[in-house]
Symmetry: C2
Subunit: 111 residues, 2 copies
DNA sequence: CAGAATCCTGGTTGATACTG
DNA sequence: CAGTATCAACCAGGATTCTG
């Protein structure tokens, strides 16, 4: 599991893999799907994944150029973990996280 | 799932929750279990968890003082996700991750 | 024992401008 | 289209020192 934490470092890393679980994607497709991510960040994450064997990068020498990113079997094996995260996020009501702080603090005399 | 990524930010966050899944722990117990973590980091993560309702903090006014951290039901509900991570780490052979990098890295000095 | 206070580093991320 | 280059900000994390 330590390995998981190293490979999927940062908030975007996980989201990128999740997107690629839907199938091969082009660079621009990923940028659009992950609204808010910068080209800089997306490139860095993809390079890291590539180095660790999670994704493959295929470039086509056309004009305009086309690059396809695809999960390797290793990358695809992350599906279960990503699903578990998703299930948790769906199952937990918003109020549970949002309204948690104040009451706890008051119930605790020492602090 | 986005919420998961925000709450369990950084490598230590996940490891701390995993340790608390084994039961309530004292501050020092956590430090020993998570060899290498600084008091600074441990305190910060625990405070964040407390604010978001993942753990409860109970302080006993003794000498020496004693503080117990315990997962709330919300925190315990993370068990499935943590298990999924663990399963992945165990299932993936070391070689799959280790041998994917070196050639790429040397040929491609990104920085 | 369980922190708090302070200073500092490294890595992720963004913004912008530019290229094959 | 798919990046690269550069500058800069934020935050997790570490090291150290010091309390109640």
């Amino acid at each position: 599991m330590d390995r998981f934490l190293i490979l999927l470092d940062g908030p975007w890393a996980t989201l990128i893999v999740r997107e690629l679980l839907h199938g091969p994607r082009r660079f621009t497709q990923l940028r659009e799907a992950l609204s808010g991510i910068s080209a800089h960040t997306l490139t860095n994450r993809l390079r890291k994944f590539e180095q660790h064997g999670l994704v493959t990068r295929t470039a086509y020498a056309e004009t305009p150029p086309k690059v396809i990113y695809e999960l390797t079997p290793l990358g695809t094996s992350l599906r279960n973990v990503l699903n578990a995260m998703n299930d948790w996020g769906v199952a937990v009501p918003d109020t549970a996280v949002m309204l948690a702080a104040p009451a706890e603090t008051l119930a605790n005399p020492l602090r």
